[in-house]
Symmetry: C2
Subunit: 120 residues, 2 copies
DNA sequence: TGAACGTATGAACAATAATTCATATGAAAG
DNA sequence: CTTTCATATGAATTATTGTTCATACGTTCA
């Protein structure tokens, strides 16, 4: 194993090898955990949470969202891009406008769970 | 209302006042949305996700966690502090050691929901 | 009490990310 | 096709955040 830099483990008493080893086996791939963190990072911004909440209520064009959140069109557009990449929203063109909507119900589920936690 | 800076709304066609107004009413308080984003921000870091995942399997002291993640004790301690403040983990002292564990089942629920999304 | 050990904390630095500004793209209407 | 309008994008700036290093704190054991 490549445990070179942090051999500073607390001696026998503290590190319970059995536990450490068995947990190591149960851990998902690093890449999955990375993706998971990336997903939550997307939810971890007030502007994006607001956008998602707005889309809960109704599909909407970029301009409507900007108006609603009292923010610049560019800022919203940048954040919609992030949400799009995370597959949390989808969009369709209607003439000059681009209408955004929630990608699926996971979004609601995840946000509702978070809401439950902070409401405790 | 204080919509001065962003009167740059796209003309009549785009902004559907009825929709905007009704959605505005449905929106939770700004403070709640802020707290929600703060919560997800905590999940939005690989190190913290890993710590939580490790604690899924077993309560553990700081040193064990650092060993498991092959990271410095200080870094882990700092992140545990963040997790503690978000009430996602709790701790108890056992002699010289401090044993951390998950605060409640919301943590599992939230992480599992996120997992479902990325596994699609 | 004093030494040793596990953990916590503050400051500093490096890395990331959000917003703004200016401008580009692409559809629609004349 | 040219202009207009809605949206997208790149660069720059500012703000935020994670890790490290050094050190302090609090238990335990001699």
């Amino acid at each position: 194993m490549e445990r070179e830099k942090y051999e500073e483990r607390c001696d026998e008493i503290c590190v319970h090898d059995e536990v450490v080893n068995s947990v190591t086996e149960e851990m998902p791939e690093d890449e999955i955990l990375y993706d998971l963190a990336e997903l939550f990072k997307v939810f971890g911004d007030t502007t994006r949470i607001k956008i998602l909440y707005v889309l809960f209520e109704s599909d909407m064009c970029v301009c409507d969202i900007a108006e609603l959140l009292n923010m610049g069109q560019s800022a919203i557009s940048h954040q919609l891009r992030v949400l799009k990449q995370a597959q949390l929203v989808k969009f369709r063109r209607e003439g000059k406008q681009v209408i955004y909507s929630l990608a699926d119900d996971h979004v609601r589920t995840i946000i509702n769970n978070g809401m439950e936690h902070i409401m405790e």
